[in-house]
């Protein structure tokens, strides 16, 4: 049997350790870092609703501390300890400006939008997919993210974009999409071949004046806000708030958005797709008739 004096020694050691720990923790908390609940009075009441799930901000606060605080920071402003090493910079939740939404530009996203973003991650950034978390945990995180800005108490999310059924993929659709890519000057940022090297690419900054690069279609198989044709449709129709990518909702009419989607798919040269098959076949037979994209085409010349 163990001697009681050693059990007592162990206990006293534990008490000493824990007491020191408590003291140091408190000291550090006051000196170094704001409490995550500061400035977020709604943390006790804020909820999210994703399908049948109800997320609770109070639970989300625990999870935020475990998973998110390193990048998004203890104040939710994107100034976490690791933010200095990260490019693009982490989202500033206090502004409540989000790139991936199903709602019009300038409006708040839906809870489902935030849930999808957390689940999917952002392939072109350090933000990973948090699919390994349970659905409830992700819903709780959504609720907590909404506590960082007073906008969530004052405004409602915008109306969700209705995406019509996809039109057939035809060479005419792709060619019209190509005309739109030229006309709307997408190439100025994304480049004539979609390599993200257009003449304006080097000058772009986000809403916080951080340099930002346009998407390079040629290397990607996924987009920042999804990977399906519907996702691509939604991206340029709602725009990526906080970035130079505008919304084309008021510009594109009728089948224009789907035509543009079909053309953009041909820029993803490494991705097998019906669009690519059609386009390659067309280029093989009509290559000489195809005008280049870029300033020359804008001037009417080849």
């Amino acid at each position: 049997m163990i001697s009681s004096k050693f059990v007592a020694a162990f206990a006293l050691g534990s008490i000493a350790l824990l007491s020191v720990g408590a003291g140091v923790s408190r000291a550090q908390s006051h000196v170094d870092t704001p409490d995550p609940s500061l400035g977020t009075p709604s943390v006790n009441t804020e909820e999210s609703h994703i399908g049948n799930l109800t997320g609770h901000a109070l639970e989300g606060k625990h999870l935020y501390r475990r998973y998110c605080i390193g990048c998004h920071g203890p104040a939710g402003d994107g100034n976490g300890m690791n933010a200095q090493w990260i490019d693009p910079k982490p989202r500033d939740f206090t502004e409540a400006t989000f790139k991936c939404r199903s709602t019009p530009t300038g409006t708040l996203p839906t809870d489902q939008d935030l849930y999808n973003a957390i689940t999917r991650g952002f392939v072109t950034t350090n933000m990973p997919s948090w699919r390994p978390l349970t659905e409830q945990q992700r819903a709780d995180l959504v609720a907590f993210v909404k506590t960082w800005s007073p906008r969530w108490a004052k405004e409602k999310p915008g109306d969700v974009l209705v995406i019509p059924a996809e039109t057939p993929v035809t060479i005419e659709s792709i060619l019209h999409g190509r005309e739109l890519f030229q006309k709307l000057e997408c190439w100025k940022c994304h480049g004539p071949a979609g390599h993200g090297d257009g003449p304006s690419a080097g000058t772009l900054t986000d809403s916080k004046d951080n340099p930002i690069r346009p998407y390079n279609f040629s290397t990607g198989t996924r987009f920042m806000c999804g990977e399906t044709n519907q996702d691509l449709y939604r991206i340029f129709m709602t725009g990526l708030d906080g970035s130079p990518m505008p919304s084309f909702h008021d510009t594109l009419q009728g089948n224009d958005p789907w035509d543009l989607v079909h053309f953009l798919r041909t820029l993803q040269v490494s991705l097998p797709s019906k669009e690519n098959d059609l386009w390659r076949s067309y280029v093989a037979s009509h290559g000489k008739d195809i005008k280049p994209i870029g300033p020359d085409a804008a001037n009417g010349g080849q």
Binding site: S4, A11, S25, T33, S37, R65, G70
Partner: protein, 493 residues
């Protein structure tokens, strides 16, 4: 011997009372320490995993419940070949000055005690003579003082998109080094997470990892069942030991479903055709073992994340050697005889309370069990030994920086290797209690203060753990109590 002392009953009562009071004090201290919980802690510095945090900028608590134990996000990261599956995975995204190295060591104070040890009497045999000979008696051996743990120099990451690696030179406290792990893994073959091939020396795909668990003391720092063999057996297999071979593994996108099939040399992870990773080990045989593991996780809604799994290891070990120089130099292990281990395990959460249950059954061939050459006859009463046992470990996460630990282990020998052995010969019972506090979890370093008490009772054999210097008791019916008290500063940079 304690049981022979007068007043034993009163002493035990007093001891139990003292223990209860002290335990209550510890619990109170823990509660006091966290009376202003989670969010009063240095939350902006909850970061760790130096090697990977430097690459991805994630807090260590993203991948670990409490480092080094993985949570499901960490499991997915590991299953994906240390990749987050975004375009930051390839080494091309790393700063040229970045080098994926982490080292870990634990300066500590500890006290080790084992009773019923065979010791000389009187102490050191001082003053003995022919008329007053030095005797072997049962006694208690106690040692305490400041110490060092071994050191891990861990390097891991990606060589290229979907090609990952680990190189882990590890030393004992005297700086004798070996390669604890060294492997290359080809991930996501055919663009599916279900096909990954690993080649080298690695930990078996244990649902409950002994390499990434939270106990550090001599007694508590191993899972007894992972290293147990029935007394008298020549089998050196330990389920918790890294093995060498090739593994086909796969998982669903979120790693809820996982499988592993490994073909391994029958040499306990030994190198240079021997049965160990240090010089002078006996030569290995030429056969192969197989390990199978499967687990399935469930989303238990508000309770959290639950995983259950099963495993089976089927192996062989030699019973004699081909030799040279008149039998003095063993060359190759021969006369293979089989053994197997099967079991089930779980990783279950009730909010912040985690349970890690494991049950294992082991069976050895009688030749292995009695350490008999298969060229000869078995001794009288020889039989194929078997054992069953397991553990229940629990963690309570006060927050990502404070965790209370507890574990109970039990192993019973079902069938002795010799029918004449006492029925409980080799049985093991173990208890561990601990607390880890992570005051610093930066993206460049992590520090954990670790306090543990662990106690093991083994019948007739030296404990699997202890301080490594223990000896079997005088009599096979004696129970050896071995205990560890441990305070350490576990740091990782």
């Amino acid at each position: 011997m304690f049981s022979s002392r007068p007043g034993r009953l009163e002493y035990m009562k007093k001891s139990r009372l003292t223990g209860l009071v002290v335990f209550a004090l510890v619990v109170l201290a823990m509660l006091f320490a966290d009376s202003k919980p989670a969010y009063a802690l240095p939350t902006g510095k909850v970061m760790a995993i130096p090697a990977f945090a430097r690459k991805y900028g994630l807090p260590c608590s993203a991948c670990h419940t409490a480092w080094p134990e993985l949570n499901n996000f960490g499991q997915v990261f590991r299953d994906n070949g240390y990749q987050l599956m975004n375009d930051r995975d390839s080494p091309i995204w790393q700063n040229p000055s970045y080098f994926p190295i982490t080292f870990r060591i634990t300066p500590n104070w500890h006290r080790e005690t084992a009773n019923h040890q065979v010791i000389d009497a009187p102490d050191g045999c001082f003053g003995t003579s022919i008329s007053n000979p030095c005797l072997s008696v049962a006694g208690k051996v106690t040692q305490s003082g400041f110490d060092l743990s071994g050191m891990d120099l861990w390097s891991a990451g990606t060589l290229y998109k979907n090609i990952s690696f680990v190189l882990l030179p590890s030393s004992d406290p005297t700086a004798v080094w070996h390669f604890e792990a060294a492997w290359v893994r080809f991930d996501n073959l055919k663009n599916t997470p279900w096909l990954n091939v690993r080649f080298g020396r690695f930990e078996l795909d244990n649902l409950i990892s002994e390499k990434r668990f939270l106990f550090l003391s001599n007694n508590g720092g191993i899972y007894q069942i992972y290293h147990f063999n029935v007394p008298g057996s020549s089998n050196n297999f330990g389920y918790g030991d890294n093995q060498i071979g090739v593994e086909l593994a796969g998982h669903s996108v979120n790693s809820y479903t996982r499988y592993s099939i490994a073909v391994l040399s029958s040499n306990e992870g030994g190198v240079n055709f021997t049965t160990d990773v240090v010089p002078g080990a006996p030569p290995s045989n030429r056969s192969y073992d197989v390990n199978l593991a499967f687990s399935q996780a469930f989303d238990a809604k508000s309770l959290g994340f639950e995983r259950i799994g099963a495993f089976a290891y089927i192996g062989q070990r030699p019973t004699y050697y081909e030799t040279a120089d008149g039998g003095t130099v063993p060359l190759v292990g021969l006369g293979n005889k089989s053994f197997y281990r099967v079991g089930v395990a779980g990783d279950l959460y009730i909010h912040n309370l985690e349970f890690l249950p494991l049950f294992m059954y082991g069976h050895d061939n009688a030749y292995l069990g009695t350490s008999t050459s298969s060229q000869g006859a078995l001794p009288a009463g020889a039989q194929a030994p078997s054992f069953a046992g397991g553990f229940l470990e629990s963690h309570y996460y006060l927050n990502p920086q404070n965790v209370i630990l507890g574990r109970f282990e039990k192993i019973n020998v079902g069938q002795q290797s010799l029918s004449s052995n006492p029925g409980n010969y080799g049985n093991v019972t173990a208890y561990s209690l601990g607390y880890r506090w992570y005051p610093i979890m930066f993206s460049r370093a992590g520090v954990a203060l670790d306090g543990e008490y662990s106690r093991t009772k083994s019948i007739g054999i030296v404990p699997e753990s202890g301080d490594g210097t223990g000896a079997p008791p005088l009599f096979p019916t004696d129970g050896v109590w071995s205990s560890s008290i441990f305070f350490g500063i576990d740091f990782d940079f």
